[in-house]
Symmetry: C2
Amino acid sequence: MSPTERSTVRRGARRARPDREALHAVLDAGLVGHLGVVVDGAPRVLPTGYGRVGEVLYLHGSTGARSLREAAGAQVCFTVTLLDGVVYARSAFHHSVDYRCAVVHGAARVVEDDAERERALEALTEHLAPGSWSATRRPTGKELAATAVLALDLHEAAVKVRTGGPADDEADLASDEHDWAGVLPLVTAWGAPVPAPDLRPGAAVPDRVRRRPAPGGDPRG
Amino acid sequence: MSPTERSTVRRGARRARPDREALHAVLDAGLVGHLGVVVDGAPRVLPTGYGRVGEVLYLHGSTGARSLREAAGAQVCFTVTLLDGVVYARSAFHHSVDYRCAVVHGAARVVEDDAERERALEALTEHLAPGSWSATRRPTGKELAATAVLALDLHEAAVKVRTGGPADDEADLASDEHDWAGVLPLVTAWGAPVPAPDLRPGAAVPDRVRRRPAPGGDPRG
């Protein structure tokens, strides 16, 4: 995917997925990622939503948010992780998790062009709440002015996926120092929609909410 | 909780939880956090497990892992986020998420003392898989030598929690430019345990796995 040192998977390299489809799949399956920026020489990591348009990831936030201001034009790291299960091994050492993780490195570009800003906000809204861009009120000029939009190219990225059971040592397989080994899957689902208290009485839950596909995508990455 | 600039919540300050109990609750409810370190001046954000002992958070990893080596003695940021729901508003602008988030800042200390290292690994194992420390083989000297353990003091931290429905503008409440508003809760649960393929036939799933309490804790933070 990318030839740089920092986007080359070293630990657990057999779990690296070098293809762009795997990167897109993890990004599309996640809802929130963690944005890392450097502020006064120290790292800050904050959760944030995102949207993808082709090979560009869009982030947004208040123009008043420090971490977003610091990210503008600077090197950032954006990581999306999906946790798929806890791996119970015969030894404490080999306990692990099944997961999918995408890490994107690069310089965040401030999006200035109005058309690109609108496309980005549509992608962000649709990623969080598919169907909401056309079903709800679009941003006003004032709202747009209060919103910073950043673009992060997906060129430099890495994907790791772990699936399946424990990788135990030979000696532990025959031992009786353990009671069980396997995977306890972590499953995410949508609960029953909760209408806003001030919603007009009798408003039906639209299909875009009621029939929203289960979150998290395919754990096999 | 902490008086420093970087651990003072500015955006959405009404969602800040200043008490240590809220910090512990979020950390205890999460399974994986995101560790931010600075490498060659740029941020790196990687997911990792953790364990808490009182006011100390422990992280571990291979002694060969670059991000862990870079974290040793350096300023790090460790963030745990639980996503509790998608907030559908009457406007694209007010779409949001319900979440719980803990952000810890500080210098990561390499744990050298054998007894503290063992306590840390027990806490890490028990956080990931309660009951596994005593039910499985403990680490060997060789495994311990290959494991780096870092401690992060919980002194400098911030917690934010968002619950409830959308905060829409007055003008949008009466408008018909939207079909619905409310919260679609995100629910996490354990799936059915999957025994390791090489587990001895007939091994019962122990209670620590079968009856493990649902992940994610209480969304009200």
